[in-house]
């Protein structure tokens, strides 16, 4: 009786786990398979394997969608936003974690509380701010916006990391004649590499994937990001859906590469906030 129960529980458990595994993987695999099909095959046999693998779809994708422009813009925007975000948050985290001053805790709490802001609700203000700064329809508009939106999470991660660096190291550096700025550049920053990588990975992926503000703050195709580009694919590709899906698959590759290399960082970064509480 007890054996039977264990078997039933095991079956239920694995069915459940595999169902969500399938949900996470199968639609993606289907899209990848579809991206190698001919248009005729795509229309008649949606579930079949491609009879002849159409690598041309990928060549079509690159030429029709102007992929190189879209990729270049996204790389420039996501990378610069990440670097700007890390610079700004690491400077502040350094001061907050290593120095004593008035309202330090309050300032820190207010910054971190920013993660709760419904950023979507700020469409009108952001549009107004970006226009007033003269940045509308530029890459800089998205760089600044993305760097700013990710301040709370990066600040939280980097600060939690810096707090744990022993004070002795800095004291020794001060005796050796380190200035205030050198304590940041030569002692604390190199030791916080792991925290910076976690915050940077999260900011990069977020910026790479962002859609709403790319849609709102840019309009011309020369500064368009890859995500905004995808949303125009339906009109660009007319009815050549397999090529369109090839383009969509191409846009997923960078995020997946980053995830493959940094999934431990991403997972630890996301859990840091939850577990500590």
């Amino acid at each position: 009786m007890k054996r039977l129960r264990t078997i039933v529980i095991e079956v239920f458990k694995w069915t459940y786990l595999l169902f969500f595994f399938a949900i996470a993987v199968l639609p993606l695999l289907w899209l990848i398979l579809t991206s190698f099909k001919t248009e005729a095959e795509f229309n008649t046999a949606p579930l079949a394997m491609p009879e002849f693998w159409q690598f041309e779809n990928y060549i079509n994708a690159v030429s029709v969608a102007n992929m190189h422009v879209l990729f270049m813009n996204s790389i420039i925007i996501a990378t610069t936003a990440t670097l700007l975000n890390l610079l700004v948050t690491s400077l502040a985290s350094f001061v907050v974690s290593r120095e004593e001053f008035a309202f330090k805790q309050t300032i820190s709490n207010v910054i971190v509380a920013g993660v709760l802001m419904p950023i979507v609700a700020f469409m009108v203000p952001y549009l107004a701010i970006i226009r007033n700064l003269g940045l509308y329809d530029t890459r800089m508009a998205l760089i600044v916006t993305y760097a700013a939106i990710n301040i709370p999470i990066s600040f939280f991660l980097i600060k939690s990391f810096m707090v744990n660096i022993p004070k002795d190291l800095e004291d020794a550096a001060i005796i050796d004649g380190c200035t205030f700025a050198q304590r940041y550049t030569k002692v604390v920053l190199p030791l916080s590499r792991s925290g910076l990588v976690t915050a940077g990975t999260l900011t990069f992926i977020w910026s790479w994937n962002e859609f709403i503000y790319a849609l709102l703050l840019t309009s011309s195709s020369s500064v368009r990001t890859i995500q905004l580009g995808i949303s125009f694919f339906t009109t660009q590709f007319r009815s050549d859906y397999p090529s369109m899906y090839a383009a969509v698959v191409l846009t997923m590759i960078p995020s997946i590469i980053v995830y493959v290399f940094f999934h431990d960082k991403i997972i630890s970064g996301l859990t840091a906030g939850a577990v500590k509480g």
């Binding site: 949606p46 120095e99 419904p118 203000p125 994937n209 859609f211 969509v248 995830y259 939850a274």
Partner: protein
Amino acid sequence: MLVKNKNWKWIIIFMLPLAAMYITFFIYPFGFVFVSSLMKWNGISPMEFIGFQNYAKLFRATTLQISVRNNVIWALSLGFLQIGLATIIAFILARRPRFWKSLRTVYFIPKVISGVAIAMLWKAVYNAEYGALNAVLSLITGQEWSHNWLGEFATALPAIIAQEVMYIGYFMIIILAGVMSIPTSYYEAAEIDGASVWQQETLITLPVVWGIIVTAMTLAMAYGLRHFEATFLMTGGGPGHSTSTLALMMYDKIGARKLGQASTIGTILVIVGFIVIVTLNQTLGRKSLTGEDQ
């Protein structure tokens, strides 16, 4: 005190860039959205103060009622259904079954892919003519399925919500981290006392990670209330306005150059989000949302 610290000049210099950006993108917009919600404004000519007329006008609009209803459905689906599903996965994985690490990594994959790509993917899956869902259902049932999942009133909203609810990766990881931080000695002791697995999970795991689950629910509900992307990309709010949400309405108002009204919706989003966060934390348990000791 700042003045007592001999490095005060450095402290100001180091804080300044973050302060400037935080004020510009978090504090100023917060005030701006409230103030402009009381204005008649097309974005070009100067604002004109009209009191609460924007609110009065919006509350009479049927689209607003539909949107609010949809946002509530979104918040409840994500807050209870998604978190429920994610919690079960987290509890199972925390017992370290075979492949648990790989499973954890795979469950999270959809969350690193952009929402736009995911929306394109599900638009294809749900398509009436060539979609995978109809093909799979035909295969299983032996009958011809040709639902236009995103085009029909009855199925459009459930279809968009379903694809989002089933991607449990993000919350699963947060809850799992909480469960894994429980010392194994608790379970060993319970085992000796003869507690079944079910008793261990409900009497040890659940109470210990309850705070994290409430945090996850709060976040999920907040996401549901501000939902925009998948709907915008998959149905654009249609058919009719049946899948519209507040954020979608706000975007449409911006397109129509009614920036004052758009801000009104923005203000509603901020306030409702705040209410949800506070009530959930008050009723279901107290837990600092950021994980900071306060």
